[in-house]
Subunit: 401 residues, 2 copies
C-alpha cells in the first residue's frame, strides 16, 4: 500500500446510510498540496480554490499560472511538492486529511466565516485531524474555552469545572491544548468522559507544549486533535494567532476564563466576536490581573457567565437548553404582602398590644390592621389574647440589608 | 429659646450670595407633622402636599378632612401631634429638618422619582439630617455603594478601596451604614478625608447597627446622616426596604459590591434601575455565593465595574470623567505588521539562512521577504551576513497564548 492509498483510505467516512463515501484521491492530494503550499490564512488561494475546484487550483498553482494575489501566497513553496511525504507522515502518526469535499467537514460551524469582515478570518483549505471523533459530529454542539497560560488556581478550577459541566450537558469543548486554562478545560472534559477537540498551531503529529503530550494523546483517544499545519510543522507565534480563529469558528460560542488585558485568549475572543459567535467571559476578583481581560470583555459586551448551564443556555437550542433559575434564599415572611409585613414589623415579640397601638406604630388605619392581623394569624405569624396581639414566629434581625 | 425656634433656626441655610434664607417656621412645623404622621412611602399624602402645600395639607389631615386615600395613610397617627417633641429631640441630637422648600433640598437627584413606575418609589416629605455637610452640595456628584452584610474579606477590601477612590475623585459616597459592605465603603471614604452620607432606617438620633455608632458619628462629622424617620424611630425590616430607595435616589449611580441572590442590596439595585440611575456591580469569584447577586445583575444589564475610575466615568460628566485606558503589556514586536511578524517567526536564531529558505519557511514570495527583512533590520530585529539572515533579539517562547 502506498502512502497515497493510505491517505486516501484514512479519509473514508461513512454516510448516515452506512455506505462509505470516500473522497476522491485526486481531490485529497490536491488539498494536501494546497494546505502545505499556502501558509494560512490564504484568502486569495481560498477564493481561487472555491472558484475552480481544488484539483484545478493545485495544478494552476504548480504551473505558476495564477493571479498575482494567489502567486504572492503560493510562489515561495509551490515547487516543493511534499504531498506523498505529508500523507505518509500523517498516516504514520494516525492523522488523516479532512477536506471540504468530505461529509464530515464542519460546513455549518464554518459558515460563520462568511460573516467575517477580514481577510485574516477565512476557513482552512483542509484540516489534518487525529483521533477517534468525527469533526462534523463533535461540532454540532460545541463551546470553546480559552484563557491565560499563567492562570491562577481559581481559573484552573473554574475551567476544569466548566469543562466537566459542558461535557455532562453533551457539549464538545474546543480549546488549544496550551498550559493553563486550555489544559484545565480539556482535563475537566476527560474527567467526565466527554469529548474535546484540541486545535494545534503545529503539525498534527507533534505535541505542543511538550509537557502536554500525554494530555493531547488522551484528547485524541476519544475526541480530536486538529491542525491546519502539515506534519512536522513547528509552532510559531504567528501560527498561534492564526490558529485561534479555528478554535472560535468550530464552536457556537467562546468562553474566556482568565485573560490578561493583552493575550492570545483576547485574540480568540476578538475572532469569536468578528465571526458572530457568542462571546462569553467568566468574572473573577477585580484584584486579580488574571481576570482583568475577562472584565474588559464583559464591559465591551461579552456575556458574563458563571456556570456550564448559563453557557449552554447562551449557545444551545432555543427554549430547550435553558439554565435553571438560581436558587434564592427564602424567608417565612415571603408570603406576606407589603401591608402585612408592615404590621408584622410592628407586632411586639414580648408584650401583646391592642389594635389602636398597632395602628399608630405601623401608621395604618385600624381596619387595615385588623385585616392584616387576620391573615397573619391564619398563617401562624400572630397570636391574640383578650384583644391584644403579638408575634409568634421569631424572625431575623430587623436589618435585612 | 423654644424647641420650635431651635428647629427653625437649625434649618437656616445660606444662599450662594451669603444671605440666610430661613424656611418659614410654619412650613417646617407642617412638614415635621407630616413626616411623623404618614409612614413612608406615602404616595397619596405626597401628591396631596404637592397640590395644596405643606401647611394646608397638614391642617386638613389634622381635621381629617381628606380623601380616603390620604386618610388611609394618615388616620392612625393624625391625632398624635409630636411636632414640638420631634423638633426638640432632633435639636438635642444635632439634627435638623430639611424640607423641599429649603434651597439645600436635593431637587435634582430626586427628579428621578418622576420617572419611577411605582407608588413605592416616591420622594420623602422631608428629611431629618445630622452632620456638617450640605445635602444639596454633597449630592451634586454622588455614588451609592451597597452590598452584603455578611461580606467576605474580598468584598470589604473592594468596598473600602472604591470608597477611597471615589472620595479622591471628589465624589460623595452614599450608603446605609450597615455591617459589611456599607461600613467598609463609609470607612474607605473617611480614610481619604472625603464626604459620605449614611441613610438610616431609624431616627437620626439613633445609631443602627449599634456597633457602628462611632462610625456614624464620624460620618456626621464631615458628611451627613440622613433619615426620613423621626427622632426615636426604631429600625424595622419594612423601613430598611423603604430606606433603600433614598440611597439609590441620592446618587447618580449605585454600585453593588457583593450581594447574595436575594438581599437588601438587590432591592436597592432594583430601585436604582426603576429610578433610571446607573446600576453597576463589582464581579468576584464565581465560586463565591457572596458575588452571585452581582453576577446576576450584570447578566441582567448592570454595568460591570472594577475601579473607582470606571464608576466615575459611568456616572460623571460626559467627556470629562473618562477612565484612563487600562495599561496593556507591550512586546518589542508590537511594531511589526502581520507579514513582518511572519518573517520574524521564520528567522532562525542560531544559523543564518538565505531568502529562498525563508520564503519557503514563511510561505511568502521572495520579494515580500526582502521588503520585510529591510524593515526588520532597520528596527533591529534581524541581521545579515553574506546574504544570510538571522534574528537579533531573543523573543518570548512561541506560545503566545
Amino acid at each position: 500500500m502506498t502512502a497515497v492509498e493510505r491517505g486516501g483510505d484514512l479519509s473514508v467516512r461513512r454516510s448516515s446510510k452506512g455506505a462509505p463515501e470516500p473522497v476522491d484521491a485526486e481531490i485529497l492530494r490536491a488539498r494536501a498540496y494546497l494546505i502545505r503550499v499556502a501558509e494560512p490564512p490564504a484568502p486569495h488561494t481560498g477564493r481561487f480554490v472555491d472558484r475552480v475546484g481544488a484539483v484545478a487550483a493545485a495544478d494552476a498553482i504548480r504551473r505558476g499560472d495564477v493571479s498575482s494575489e494567489v502567486a504572492r501566497e503560493t510562489s515561495a513553496r509551490r515547487a516543493a511538492d511534499r504531498v506523498d511525504a505529508d500523507l505518509a507522515a500523517a498516516a504514520d502518526s494516525g492523522a488523516r486529511l479532512l477536506v471540504p469535499e468530505d461529509p464530515d467537514w464542519p460546513h455549518w460551524p464554518f459558515a460563520c466565516f462568511a460573516l467575517a469582515p477580514s481577510d485574516e478570518l477565512v476557513p482552512p483549505l483542509a484540516l489534518w485531524v487525529r483521533g477517534a471523533g468525527s469533526l462534523g459530529g463533535l461540532t454540532e454542539r460545541a463551546v470553546a474555552i480559552v484563557g491565560a497560560r499563567n492562570a491562577t488556581g481559581y481559573g484552573m478550577h473554574v475551567a476544569s469545572d466548566l469543562g466537566s459541566g459542558l461535557a455532562a450537558a453533551g457539549q464538545t469543548v474546543v480549546s488549544g491544548a496550551a498550559i493553563g486554562i486550555d489544559g484545565a478545560a480539556h482535563r475537566g472534559v476527560l474527567a467526565t468522559r466527554g469529548s474535546t477537540i484540541a486545535v494545534l498551531a503545529c503539525g498534527p503529529d507533534r505535541a505542543y507544549p511538550p509537557s502536554h503530550a500525554a494530555l493531547i494523546e488522551r484528547v485524541a483517544a476519544t475526541g480530536l486533535v486538529v491542525s491546519e499545519y502539515p506534519p512536522g510543522a513547528v509552532p510559531a507565534r504567528h501560527r498561534f494567532l492564526v490558529r485561534n480563529r479555528l478554535i472560535a469558528a468550530l464552536a457556537a460560542g467562546t468562553v474566556v476564563v482568565e485573560a490578561a488585558l493583552r493575550s492570545g485568549a483576547q485574540r480568540t475572543a476578538a475572532d469569536a466576536r468578528a465571526l458572530g459567535t457568542v462571546l462569553m467571559a467568566v468574572p473573577g476578583p477585580v484584584t486579580s490581573t488574571a481576570s482583568a481581560g475577562c472584565h474588559e470583555l464583559v464591559r465591551r459586551g461579552a456575556l458574563l457567565v458563571t456556570s456550564a448551564a448559563e453557557i449552554t443556555e447562551a449557545t444551545g437550542r432555543l427554549g430547550i437548553d435553558l439554565a435553571a433559575p438560581l436558587p434564592r434564599p427564602e424567608r417565612p415572611t415571603d408570603v406576606l404582602d407589603e401591608t402585612q409585613l408592615l404590621v408584622h414589623d410592628a407586632l411586639p415579640t414580648r408584650a401583646a398590644r391592642d389594635i389602636g397601638w398597632l395602628a399608630v406604630e405601623a401608621g395604618l388605619a385600624p381596619d387595615t390592621i385588623r385585616a392584616a392581623l387576620v391573615e397573619l394569624e391564619h398563617r401562624g405569624f400572630a397570636v391574640h389574647r383578650e384583644g391584644r396581639w403579638q408575634r409568634t414566629v421569631p424572625t431575623d434581625a430587623p436589618d435585612s440589608r
